[in-house]
Amino acid sequence: MEQMYAYRCTKCGKLHHPRYIVCQNPDCDGREFVKEPLEGKCKLLTWTRVYNLPEGYMVPWLNFGIVEFENGVRASGQIGFDEGIESGMELVSTVGIVKEKVIKYKETVVEPQYGFIFQKP
């Protein structure tokens, strides 16, 4: 089972997602982070359904959203259902394959990519 993480600065405690090299707190210069699972309940801030997908997706559309977790970390990801999507709704994060293939130097290779797929609780 793949796991998504937040990254806590060991100097000031700020949580980040995705990972950074330097802490994003303007008053901190931390460069070390500890990983913490980023999962569970979250609130949908905004969303879209996209019909013109990039190369590699053989589906008519995908739903995407930006969520805020209970610890304040925000993340973008796919939404795993079609009906009843509304800004402000409660969701729960899962992890799954968000892309089957990647392009490497003009060649498309099978290399599953894992990421957030938000679902109804």
């Binding site: 997602h17 995705p18 990972r19 994003q24 801030l45 905004t46 969303w47 879209t48 359904r49 996209v50 019909y51 013109n52 997908l53 990039p54 190369e55 590699g56 997706y57 995908l62 995407f64 959203g65 930006i66 925000r74 993340a75 973008s76 990801g77 796919q78 800004s87 968000v98 892309k99 392009i103 990519q113 990421g115 957030f116």
Partner: protein
């Protein structure tokens, strides 16, 4: 600091190009050079060339484009650099041309922006543009620029009350302007009812990235544009004394978070605000002095929100200004007289240069039927990524 101005402009017809990338760049460059009276070979006075392009290497398999252009145009041994800054590559190249002259590195710089995106399929093109997103947090999910524009639009609708019809008003306005611009990609008037009427909207204006529809975003275009920049103190000596000198009064860029979800206020376009404010400060003007603006409307929501962030209208009222016709030709704050990215087209690396070509025409009084009467001060905003790198430029006529 040395004064820098534009004495030559060139612009290809945007759309589907019949010629390859380098030919397009050279066509725009020669038009700008001819406009200024610049020569090639032994009589060349251009000592720096910048080419702004996002995808020449990735899409067209051409790297080192600036070196190739210098050689093709017989401008050797001019210095040559290719500039990549996403869809803001063009204005970044202008900024570097400005900096090269003010620093004394050169006296005369040729700045070209070009893109040949239609050589690849729509799928490949969408994927290529999306490579500017955060690789781990965004790109890997299949997120694209229209995806973020869709999510951003929904937030703005919920916060400011703007509607899908407001986006269509901006779209129809820019299509009307493009009909007056022979270099525009799409020269077709759009009737507001045809793209908003619920009875046939699914056919005439389908959803692309809900709530965004086809007419709420720009087409995929090929094209190139060019500017000849010269130091005021060398204008006469280099042979451009008879040319109108459109001064680059202010030019600045700013950045914002790469990961869009990280933005403190998700409806803010902070890099637009900061770069515009810095360009105004440099020029010694304010938004109230702007007579005409070219704003980066890759999505119609961006024209509205950029007009607010650049201070042309109070926050949350840009859509009301559009509704009232204030941003149309004949309005008190005309925006995107060229047709904007929506209808003139958006060849990524060319756009920032193309915006300035339009404003030079306006400030010279050479914009024909789309001329803004008495225009003296103009603003361009060239928007990279989903707002994570923005260049603003203020131009002034003598």
């Amino acid at each position: 600091m040395r004064e820098v101005g534009i004495v030559g402009i060139g612009h290809t017809k945007f759309g589907k190009s019949a010629v390859p990338f380098l030919d397009m760049c050279c066509e725009a460059a020669l038009e700008a050079m001819d406009d200024a009276g610049a020569k090639t070979g032994r009589r060349n006075v251009i000592n720096q060339v910048f080419v702004g392009t996002m995808g020449a290497g990735m899409v067209n398999r051409i790297s080192g484009a600036a070196s190739a252009v210098v050689d093709t145009l017989n401008l050797r041994p001019a210095m040559a650099e290719t500039v990549e800054n996403g869809p803001a590559s063009g204005a970044s190249a202008v900024k570097l041309g400005y900096a090269a002259i003010t620093s004394g590195l050169c006296d005369c710089a040729l700045v070209i922006g070009g893109e040949a995106m239609r050589e690849v399929s729509g799928w490949e093109g969408t994927d290529f543009v999306a490579t500017m997103l955060h690789p781990e947090g965004e790109y890997r999910y299949g997120l694209t620029l229209p995806s973020f524009a869709g999510m951003f639009t929904r937030l703005c609708m919920e916060k400011y009350g703007l509607t899908s019809r407001d986006l269509a008003i901006v779209s129809a306005k820019n299509h009307a302007n493009a009909c007056l611009n022979p270099n525009a990609h799409i020269q077709a008037k759009v009737k507001l009812d045809r793209i908003t009427d619920e009875r046939y909207i699914a056919a005439t204006n389908p959803l692309v990235a809900d709530p965004l529809r086809q007419y709420d975003m720009c087409p995929v275009s090929d094209g190139a544009a060019a500017l000849l920049l010269v130091a005021r103190d060398k204008q006469e000596e280099l042979g451009f004394g008879n040319q109108k000198f459109i001064r680059i009064a202010g030019i600045a860029s700013a950045t914002d978070t790469h990961y869009v979800a990280d933005r403190e206020v998700p409806t803010d376009l902070l890099a637009v605000r900061l770069s515009a404010q810095a360009a105004y400060r440099m020029a010694g003007v304010g938004p109230e002095d702007i007579d005409v603006a070219e704003l980066h409307d890759a999505f119609q929501i961006l024209e509205i929100e950029e007009s607010e962030e650049a201070g042309l209208f109070p926050r949350g009222t840009g859509h009301l200004a559009a509704r009232e016709g204030r941003t149309a030709l004949g309005g008190d704050m005309p925006i995107n007289t060229s047709g904007g990215l929506k209808a003139k087209g958006h060849p990524l690396g060319a756009t920032g240069v193309s915006q300035i070509v339009e404003l030079v025409k306006q400030l010279r009084g050479e914009a024909g039927e789309r001329q803004v009467s008495g225009a003296k001060t103009a603003l361009a905003v060239n928007f990279g990524g989903f707002g994570n790198n923005v260049v603003s430029t203020v131009l002034q006529a003598e």
